[in-house]
Symmetry: D2
Subunit: 375 residues, 4 copies
């Protein structure tokens, strides 16, 4: 459905052509300073039209807080946020739309809801993610304020071009330990923090745009300073919640935590992360194949994961397919389209990660307070 | 927490050394024939000790239905099932256990709960999955009875040895369309339905057992005959629920739906699945890079996905690590251990897939009945 | 928290002094005609300032649908609705507010959230109910369209003045079977459908207003034409969900289903409702002490219940109490206040009843479709 | 469904004629001492056959903890508990049962589930409450250990005989402040803590038993030492959760918090609870018409409420009614039955109250830890 989370909970609404998109965030801890300026930057980072590689449509996406704060402080009550749609007149496509777009949600939405909506795939529109990003910005601020948590995502792959994501690579682990959002954004337009690789990716995307095609990619995300103990066995393990969150983002096809699929190829004697004593007395691990999670519970090491995004289904070239009525035909190209969306997916991945962690943190805190008080 | 699902909902309990493990399955449709014989086969398939490659411990794992059926029919009320633990005396490890096992859940459970349990990682024990498999067997029967749904999982990779999982491979797609559980089980002990690859995998596992090491692998699963329309945008997309379910299985590190990570490398013009008219009038797709899901909603094509399992953390060789107290030391080897768990993971993957689909089906049915009745 | 329901689910937001109040309604069946004109009437019915007996503040409370409909039809996606607050500037009461208002939520909100909000009791404001009423109007329309369900609430008691609510009274049962909203509203301002009793209630409220005091009352509600089979044992019995819903309305102190507290005094031989065959072959009951529910499940008879509302805590006379700092003092009177709120509570009671029934209906329908299909 | 609670969550199972009844309790804080001896007393208090006034059936109802504890301490993992049914052979009533029992759940269960179960009303059986009482005993222990919370219920009314429950009665408020379970149980068999009233109740029940009839009653419950701040606006106000919990108990017809229905008759100037400073600096109220809750949030005063129970539907005399087939007839008397169940309902009311409070406490604690830490 349209809600995510148990205590820190977001509910989103909105399609492409309705009046506004937005969300209600329930369970935000009270007494935290919060204004629209805390939320807008991530919304701006996900906006299209930021570079010559992405779609030229210029959306403003200005967030307006409706409730839940007074004098710049959260009240502990639900925070509603809305972002107006610039063009909110629905188009009556029911007559003229002949072809469901291949690998789009037009057909499945029609079969699920029995309605042919103006926006075709309805909630599968990228605008649905605005509510997530707004909510995630609040979660992020809470995590940063309470525990210094840092969440940074970046592009690690586009098509066949990729940085080395081997969990045993010292360089990769160093990147995870140090990368900042400022660094990521300095690699515009592709947001891959490696000059050489980034340039190759840009070239590839340009080439696909010129051939009226599209290409997917991989976003890698790291969460640093997350407290030990987050994640709920058995079903709501931290990696399970992250996987749920990531695969709920439009166009995602895969999720890896820590060593991921590569980890299936490493013998246990090398894959196991040995313990060592950290300065603060807690135990750390000398390697991090686990990706910061053991038994579904955060262990204090950086949590990192990667998310696969398929190539955008909307392409500028014509496609042979069948109509809603089942007749073979050609879906003609319409306009210019974004050949690669992974750079814009970065704030969405960060937002969903923050929502998972904020909820896991509050759930765990409900348990911790009792330690040592019961007999 | 320990519950999964909204309408078709399972709640599990149990650790390694308690009296029993099991579950309560709520929301099972009434009037379905159900007896223990429907459930036992999958429990038996997940038992260790079935071959010379797996751990010799012989568990009986006999399921006992406690409630929710009469005269072999479901009542619509919750079905409780228990499986007794053979050895349920907890060991007092609190004094003698010096080292948290690397890449095990001993340390994180201790930090999360403040308790050093007999079974170390508590609910991270593989025995926790018994309740899932029992519940999944009921979900499977419901899906099969109501819609002829077939769910088949198999081993597609062990270490670096793998069958070809390229979504564009005709052979792979044919395998997905035809494979049966009987075929899978005929490739004992490794359950990879390819004689040559299976033999190589067996050799690799034997070699790692002999070197007191372990290795991970990949399980691929296909769901056939799933009705169109299942999955709930925005957050509970069908692939998001599957990802959640799979990453909640112990030792999992990754999830791919359809083309997965490979799909990020395929241009949109090739990745898009064109539509065609099927005999029954519905639209099918000529390729299935989408993995049977578009916009988070099943489209009538086979749903397939792969799950990465890390190498078992428990190995027979000694490991340099630190004690709970932070002192460096060597964790000595103890006994013999399962060098590879993916064949046993197959019924668990099938069970979780069935639980996701049964719940999605019931939620969707609540919506469909109103079609055409409202004005 | 701020969400209610499982499949048909509402999430509300908003306080007295924020920009807007409203809600997101998820799970609304698709393809139902819906416009703002379907929702506004109930919002207007709950507005203050409608008569000389209620508070003179004139709110407009105009609802704006933000999403989830196109061309006057529901899409099956979440429906967001907002109602702007006329005066949304928060007041900085943190310095000047000395006294928590007795029997208000000022003190408990401060202790719970650690924040002294402009509106004192924050979400305990009556404006929070706007989102409920808007959501309930959609639920009502769905119930009416799909099953002809009718929900009518009315004032049955004010202070010590009451109509006869004995479940054995033929007159009372006839009222429940026939009363309409039009009839209820014709008894303005008190909305008690009995001329004599209504006049006495009006006199009492006038008298209390003149003495700067307030008085509570009882709202009775009937749900007709509800299908048999709604309500989920064991914890989500239909009456349990109704009780939850009603006691979540501000100022409520009690709930009775069917015979209620009076039913504790009637011997079983008289209280039991004998069955008889109805024209359509279903069984009806000749009496309805059960209030249309047996074993937590609707039985096809009218469901009726009553809800107790305490006297409004805000009164115009001075009150001896203690300050936030614990010093004794007198809270002076401020302005004129509504001496009785039960007439305005009617659409809120109806809305919450509709939300409970719509959700119960969808949950039950997910089960029914399988009847006779499993073996 | 069969689960209740968000963080401290119970899921129950079991009917009259299955192998066992019981529950899984998830979210129990770790490191609390817990053994079967903590749970058995409340199960024993709810057993029938304890006096000459109740049904002679002798159940043993011995609880067995299956999981979640080791060496007498909770692990933080789910605690499963089972109680075996003495007679668990289902009877095949499908042929011989002609009449649905009036005001029982036989008919509604049949219509809801399409199955005629051995136990007729299936989960409406009183044995379903065993799981609740077992779970509630754990919740109670947690509340007592962490905050010294005391929960005591007693019979306040049987038929027309009642103690004075006027919220303004000093005697009643004193009773609420001091009553203990030991005192309640000393008034066997009726558990009404007033010798004179108790005797009258006993006489009435005896008389109804002799006339093969039954009678209902009222249970009043007080919760003392509950921390300030529990309860979640807007929908999960503390009184809303209590109402939900109480109306989910079989045979309940009404719920009142604090002044309840009587409170509708008291002018606001008398009903408002003035504040005063308590010794510990917190504010108390000089009266307690609010019943310890303001704005849905506990205020530190005793929380008290009453629950109405209808007369048992199973009576020993014959009843005119209709058969399942719709034919008029007489349902003959069978055996002897409990003419009044309210004394046995006491541990059930206490259990449900404890479950509500434990969950509300954990949810609130997740919020409190952040106070003063955010900026």
């Amino acid at each position: 459905m349209s809600s995510f989370g148990t205590i820190f909970k977001v509910t989103t609404y909105g399609e492409s052509h309705c009046k506004s998109v937005g969300c209600i965030v329930d369970g935000v801890p009270p007494n935290m300073s919060l204004e629209e300026a805390d939320i807008q930057p991530q919304l701006t980072r996900r906006r299209p039209g930021q570079s010559k590689l992405s779609t030229p449509r210029n959306e403003k996406d200005k967030v307006e807080i409706q409730s839940g704060t007074e004098f710049g402080k959260t009240l502990g009550t639900p925070i509603a946020m809305i972002v107006r749609n610039e063009d909110h007149r629905p188009k009556d496509y029911s007559e003229t739309d002949v072809f469901p777009r291949p690998s789009h949600a037009d057909y499945t939405y029609l079969k699920k809801y029995g309605v042919k909506a103006s926006s075709g795939g309805g909630r599968s529109s990228a605008r649905e993610t605005i509510g997530r990003v707004a909510a995630g910005a609040i979660a992020e601020k809470f995590l940063a304020q309470s525990h210094g948590v840092e969440i940074v995502a970046f592009v690690s792959g586009v098509g066949t071009i990729s940085i080395d994501r081997d969990p045993r690579s010292a360089e990769f682990q160093k990147l995870l330990s140090t990368i900042t959002r400022e660094q990521v954004d300095s690699f515009e337009p592709i947001r891959c923090p490696d000059s050489t690789v980034s340039q190759k990716m840009t070239d590839l995307v340009t080439q696909l745009r010129d051939s009226q095609d599209s290409i997917g990619g991989v976003v890698t995300c790291v969460i640093r300073n997350l407290p030990i103990g987050l994640g709920e066995p058995a079903f709501d393990k931290l990696e399970a919640m992250l996987a749920h969150a990531m695969l709920s983002i439009p166009a995602t096809k895969g999720f890896e935590i820590g060593s991921g699929f590569e980890g299936t190829k490493i013998p246990g004697s090398q894959h196991n992360d040995p313990f060592y004593a950290k300065a603060d007395g807690a135990l750390g691990t000398t390697t991090n194949n686990s990706g910061g999670i053991q038994g579904g519970i955060s262990n204090g090491e950086p949590v990192y994961f990667s998310v696969a995004f398929k190539p955008p289904a909307t392409i500028s070239q014509s496609q042979s397919t069948a109509s809603y009525e089942g007749e073979d035909g050609v879906l003609k190209a319409r306009g210019r389209h974004d050949p690669n969306v992974v750079p814009r997916a970065i704030p969405i991945v960060e937002a969903m990660a923050a929502l998972v962690c904020a909820d896991a943190l509050l759930i765990q805190k409900s348990r911790e307070y009792t330690f040592g008080q019961l007999s």
